[in-house]
């Protein structure tokens, strides 16, 4: 299982005298094996949402639950992929992926087996003995995704994972993530400010308001994707050309622009 539930969550930073309300009244449920993307203007608190589920941060009010249990600390069952990869530069690709398995006391033979599989899936076999600095950004993020996926987590938390990559690499990674997510579905909470990315990847897209961040609306992408058979197209640009895709994207853009306008006013 891996059901995430935000239950009236608020998060206030800063001092009592000068509080900054980052999140207010967040209510959202991500069901088991569902892929939910959160989009919103920068500084709206979308990353804070993810950090609450990861156990890196805690709500000031309300509760964040995974499988009806309140989150107390980071756990491998809730694996995180960071925007800046956060690999261990002193460890090889193999050792980076291996650490989580060692922490779970997985036997050596099984570790090798599982790492070999994930390396193959992520096209990383030739790099198993490389150090992170010898790899491109896209490759590094592949290692970070492999490091999270190999743990077979109930929940996968991705914090703008492709934000630091160039446009071409980004597209390739998006296609690969779709492939991975369809093949081995997980509950995914995906943070991004890229609207196309959210629509292409997610089952549902949650749009956040500017600070204090709230969830403005949640769009069901999955039913449209299934009705319009997006997954029958192999390339992202073919999907992005579909009228149904354009329609959704434009809707989100408008919604976000209202936020920008409100911020400027």
């Amino acid at each position: 299982m891996g059901v995430i539930r935000f239950d009236n969550v608020g998060r206030v930073f800063g001092s009592k005298a000068k509080p900054f309300v980052a999140l207010k009244d967040i209510n959202l449920e991500v069901s088991n094996k569902e892929f939910v993307a959160i989009v919103g203007p920068s500084g709206c608190g979308k990353t804070t949402c993810l950090r609450l589920v990861a156990g890196f941060d805690f709500p000031s009010s309300g509760r964040v639950l995974v499988d009806e249990t309140e989150i107390r600390r980071p756990r491998p069952e809730r694996a995180v992929v960071f925007q800046q990869f956060a690999l261990f530069p002193w460890k090889t690709v193999y050792a980076n992926i291996e650490l989580g398995l060692r922490n779970q006391n997985v036997a050596r033979a099984e570790r090798e087996d599982r790492i070999r599989q994930i390396l193959e899936l992520m096209n990383l076999e030739p790099y198993r003995d490389h150090f992170p600095h010898q790899l491109s950004g896209g490759m590094q993020q592949r290692v970070a995704i492999a490091r999270a996926y190999v743990l077979d987590p109930e929940v996968l938390l991705m914090d703008e994972p492709f934000g630091a990559l160039d446009a071409q690499t980004r597209v390739v990674m998006q296609e690969e993530l779709v492939r991975l997510a369809r093949r081995n579905p997980r509950t995914v909470l995906f943070i991004t400010h890229a609207v196309e990315e959210a629509v292409y990847l997610a089952d549902r897209v949650a749009i956040m308001t500017r600070a204090p961040g709230r969830i403005k609306e949640v769009l069901d992408v999955r039913s449209i994707r299934e009705a319009e058979k997006w997954d029958s197209y192999e390339k992202i640009e073919d999907v992005m050309d579909l009228e149904s895709f354009v329609h959704l994207r434009t809707h989100i853009w408008r919604s976000l622009r209202e936020e920008k306008a409100a911020a400027a006013a």
Binding site: G55, R73, P74, A86, F88, L99, N103
Partner: protein, 261 residues
């Protein structure tokens, strides 16, 4: 031979020729103030084969080197763990930092009289003084190394469920190791400086002792031999530490580039 080494060698050769010309050939510098190359070589032969200031050069070198390495190791073995603790634990930092603020402004050499008073002219006083000097850079740089670790790296380790000891060994120490090595280099330099100073003030053996006795004997050749010996040893130990650093930090691109240059 690499070009850098060729140029370096040429520079030293020119200096030696200038030295020879200005002392032996033209007599621009009085032999009582600065020795000629010949006088230096004579002094070297003297201390090498017949001994000077209580021992041969090899014995003095052995003694100084042993004390530097011992003092350095004691300082590092205490300083690095303390730096890690202070960097990682707010309470430890709050407890220890005030002590540091009081002790840090005291020049390490100012501890020499107290060390001799407590422990006499033997080895233990020297090791104590080296410890005072070499301990601080190890602590400060290790501490800074821990504090500059990128937060996501720590969060990644936590997210992967890394147990405490493994976290220290495989994340905290390697992540701070570039700064730890900076601390070690400074500690090593401090070890040599303080050892020679301590031996100058009072010792039975050692290169500082050679310098001290030669000064009293008005023996410039021997003073120069002592100075050159200290320089070569300091250079060699720093080089050895640099080799170790390059091996330990082979994963670090910046260090690898610096090592190549």
């Amino acid at each position: 031979m690499p070009r850098r080494l060729q140029i370096g060698g040429a520079t030293i050769l020119v200096l030696v020729i200038l030295w020879y010309l200005s002392t032996t050939v033209f007599g621009l510098i009085a032999p009582g103030r600065f020795p000629s190359p010949q006088a230096t070589i004579d002094a070297l032969g003297h201390v090498l084969f017949r001994g000077y200031a209580g021992g041969t050069l090899i014995e003095h070198i052995f003694n100084s080197l042993r004390l530097v390495i011992l003092g350095f190791l004691v300082a590092v073995a205490t300083g690095v763990p303390l730096g890690l603790l202070m960097g990682w634990n707010r309470t430890a930092e709050a407890l220890i930092n005030p002590v540091f603020l009081i002790i840090r402004p005291i020049p390490p050499l100012a501890w020499i009289p107290l060390a001799i008073l407590w422990l006499g002219l033997g080895d233990s006083a020297k090791i104590l003084v080296i410890w005072f000097a070499a301990f601080v850079p190890s602590v400060i740089n290790t501490y800074a190394g821990v504090r500059t670790i990128e937060k996501p790296v720590l969060e990644a380790a936590a997210m992967l469920g890394t147990p405490r000891l493994r976290f220290i060994r495989e994340v905290l120490v390697p992540a701070s190791s570039p700064m730890i090595f900076t601390g070690l280099r400074l500690s090593l330099q401090a070890s040599w400086t303080t050892l020679v100073a301590a031996e100058l003030v009072g010792a039975f053996y050692g290169l500082g002792r050679v310098l001290n006795v030669a000064q009293q004997d008005l023996y410039p050749g021997m003073i120069l031999v002592g100075m050159i010996a200290v320089a070569i040893l300091g250079w060699a130990t720093t080089k050895a530490l640099g080799k170790l650093e390059m091996r330990a930090l082979s994963w670090n691109q910046a260090a690898a580039l610096a090592g190549r240059g």
